[in-house]
């Protein structure tokens, strides 16, 4: 039986330029906690063209920071990154490697797990230790209604990718641990892809990928300023029914439904929409729906997890106050 305590815990800290993604820091916090419980060491691993940036990670409690630096690692490529990282994993034999479930994190993890011939649990939303001190990662499946607890009892390192926002962002503290820079052995043939351009996210509306959508219908009477404030506070987008876009209260590309956009947010807040099927097909894929309508018989309530019967105006005002507090 493999014991987690045999090796340390590693966190892959994903860089954007010279800073690190919040999810990587969240993982540092959680990994420190697990490492302490098991009495093992925590190593933060970072990859890039040069070293240097890794020193920032010392503020999040590692025992070691390992920087892999090479010109061929300037932009992300799964093949090159996996080659560089796997060499270090083979050398140091950590028991665990945690990565953020970002798009590049997922891209890398899938490749690295095979290189290491080990098991990987992806998109984890909760992490536990079993009685043999294997990590159990809970992953949503089947449209989010069911979670499976997945572990990797027989191979090491056990690899897990964790969704952003699952663990709290730790406070930055006094620097700890040492920083080692390693220049991996790499050649052109280790590189599979080359970035040729990057177009930063623009201001185009894309409701299909929004995590939170605040929808206004005819019941808003055209007052979308508070709907917009609410969307802004929640880091989400404004959506609308066709009646609202027809009236010109909101741009057409925010119309949700059969002849509009089909959305899949984590949360949809729906104010003053009756729940016509041409609208509701557009929020069927939402994880959670909350609806406010003054008509207790409005069909929208059949499509809501939480329905509030009442005038939307005062509810929006109270909610804005509650969220700002």
């Amino acid at each position: 039986m493999i014991d987690v305590r045999e090796g340390g815990i590693w966190v892959y800290a994903e860089r954007r330029g010279d800073s690190f993604l919040p999810v990587s820091l969240e993982l540092m916090g959680k990994a420190r906690e697990i490492a302490d419980r098991l009495g093992v060491e925590l190593t933060a691993l970072t990859v890039g063209r040069d070293g240097g940036a890794g020193a920032q990670l010392r503020r999040y409690g590692p025992d070691h920071v390992l920087e892999l630096a090479h010109p061929l690692l300037t932009t992300y490529d799964a093949k090159a990154y996996a080659t560089a990282i796997s060499a270090e994993l083979r050398r140091s034999k950590p028991s665990t490697l945690l990565l953020g479930a970002t798009r590049n994190g997922q891209d890398l993890a899938g490749r690295l797990a095979i290189r290491m011939r080990t098991g990987l649990t992806a998109h984890v939303t909760a992490l536990e230790l079993d009685d043999r001190q294997n990590l159990i990662g809970w992953v949503p499946g089947f449209g989010g209604g069911i979670e499976a607890g997945v572990s990797c009892p027989v191979r090491r390192p056990q690899m897990v990718t964790v969704k952003p926002g699952v663990f709290p962002l730790p406070e930055s503290g006094t620097p700890t641990g040492d920083v080692t820079k390693v220049v991996p052995e790499l050649s052109e043939k280790d590189v599979g892809s080359r970035r040729i351009s990057f177009e930063p996210k623009g201001s185009t509306v894309d409701l299909t990928r929004a995590g939170v959508i605040v929808v206004g219908g005819r019941g808003t009477g055209g007052d979308f300023t508070r709907i917009e404030r609410l969307a802004h506070l929640l880091g989400g987008e404004v959506g609308a029914t066709r009646v609202a876009t027809d009236a010109g209260w909101v741009e057409r590309d925010r119309m949700i439904g059969q002849t509009g956009v089909i959305t899949h947010p984590e949360l949809a807040l729906v104010f003053g929409a009756s729940g016509a099927v041409q609208f509701t097909v557009g929020i069927e894929g939402a994880n959670t729906v909350i609806a406010v309508n003054r008509d207790p018989a409005a069909p929208i309530f059949d499509h809501a997890d939480l329905g509030i019967v009442g005038d939307l105006g005062p509810v929006v005002d109270s909610l804005l106050r509650a969220l700002a507090a």
């Binding site: 027809d246 119309m255 059969q258 016509a276 041409q278 097909v281």
Partner: protein, 374 residues
């Protein structure tokens, strides 16, 4: 080299396209009088010119405006040569599936129909949800075919429940297919996908035979038209619209009842009226229920289209091009208390045009059911 001027470019006649057209439509009867252009409700609000569309089709060209057509058949009704222009539009659309030049969203619609059996991409297991507290005898050779909209749209579900309630009151033995029911295929036909339409007709035919169905009552005029035309090929059951079935029951005294004294105006859905010639049963139902009928100027064969046919329910229409609001105004102009119709698409369209702000919109079956006793 001298450049050819535009006007001297010879007109090319696409023989193959012409033959395909002549084989499946009667567009070769057209003598280009232009009556249809004037009859088309899109002529006012869009560049649609039906005569020109037919002319282009004769040269093997497809006018992109075919996708705006609501298959309302106002043009068919006007044509002195009996050209089936709706058939021509469907034919031209069918060709566009071959070349994959169809409007965005339509392939997704068809995938939904193909794999979920309905036009909403909703789970087949929810198809019987319309029934709520309604009990169905579940016996007999009469089938109430509910259709996608009345199965899933909460507004139209009320119509389906009203019809079921009236059938129960009259003691009619009937069955429903519940979660086994699949789309009638009208949406597929209207957007020009004959392959899927045929597939659904076959699936429905098999289901009808297995259940020993001899008579089908539909909620939607679109199902009525599609099943009536489609099932005749299989020597299938008799297909009627619910207004026809209910008229018989009221006539024979099996259901009676009066609604409070009010005036009502009736909108003829294109597929019930112009397509299938059913004009009187809904009117008689309203009158037998004690309502006073006031006609709009454009009634029966001259009824104005709401804009929901021809697959337009799945294509966004610019608010300025929607004929529905005009129809609502016309209805309100009669001074009637209510606007009644007998098609779930018409109701969706009128409601979404804020019809109820000027005149309450309702369905014939619901009105009859509200006053009926067995």
């Amino acid at each position: 080299m001298v450049e050819e001027s535009k006007s001297s470019v010879p007109i090319r006649f696409d023989d193959e396209a012409w033959e395909a057209l002549a084989a499946t439509t009667n567009a070769n009867r057209c003598f280009q009088c232009g009556t249809c252009t004037a009859a088309c409700p899109l002529a006012d609000s869009t560049p649609m010119r039906v005569r020109a569309l037919i002319r282009r089709a004769q040269f093997g060209e497809t006018d992109p405006l075919i996708w705006k057509c609501m298959t309302c058949a106002e043009c068919n009704a006007s044509c002195p040569r009996g050209v089936d222009i709706v058939g021509l539009v469907r034919h031209l659309r069918q060709e566009k599936w071959r070349t994959r030049e169809v409007p965005k969203g339509l392939p997704t619609l068809l995938w939904g129909i193909y794999s979920d059996g309905n036009t909403f991409h909703l789970p087949p297991k929810d198809r019987a949800a319309w029934m709520k507290d309604v009990k169905v005898p579940g016996r007999g050779s009469t089938l109430l075919y509910v259709g996608c909209t009345a199965s899933y749209d909460p507004r139209a579900q009320r119509t389906a429940r009203s019809v079921a309630k009236l059938l129960n009151l009259a003691g009619v033995e009937f069955q429903v297919m519940g979660t086994d029911e699949v789309c009638c295929g009208e949406a597929a036909r209207s957007v020009g996908n004959v392959g899927l339409y045929d597939d659904l007709q076959q699936r429905n035919s098999d289901a009808f035979r297995k259940r020993g169905v001899e008579r089908v009552i539909t909620i939607s005029p679109h199902s009525f038209d599609a099943l009536k035309v489609g099932q005749s090929k299989y020597g299938g059951p008799q297909v009627v619209h619910y207004t026809q079935a209910l008229e018989e029951l009221v006539d024979s005294g099996k259901v009676v009842g009066t609604v409070e004294k009010r005036t009502v105006t009736y909108h003829d859905p294109c597929y019930l009226g112009r397509h299938q010639g059913v004009f009187e049963p809904p009117r008689r139902l309203l009158e037998l229920s004690g309502l006073t009928l006031v006609e709009m100027a454009n009634n029966r064969a001259q009824s104005l289209c709401c804009g929901g046919g021809g697959g337009r329910m799945w294509m966004e229409t610019d608010p300025l091009e929607r004929p529905g609001s005009r129809r609502v105004s016309e209805a309100a102009g009669t001074g009637a208390d209510l606007l009644a119709t007998a098609c779930p698409y018409c109701i969706s369209v009128f409601e979404s045009e804020r019809g109820s702000e000027v005149i309450p919109v309702t369905d014939v079956a619901e009105l009859v059911a509200s006053g009926a006793k067995g």
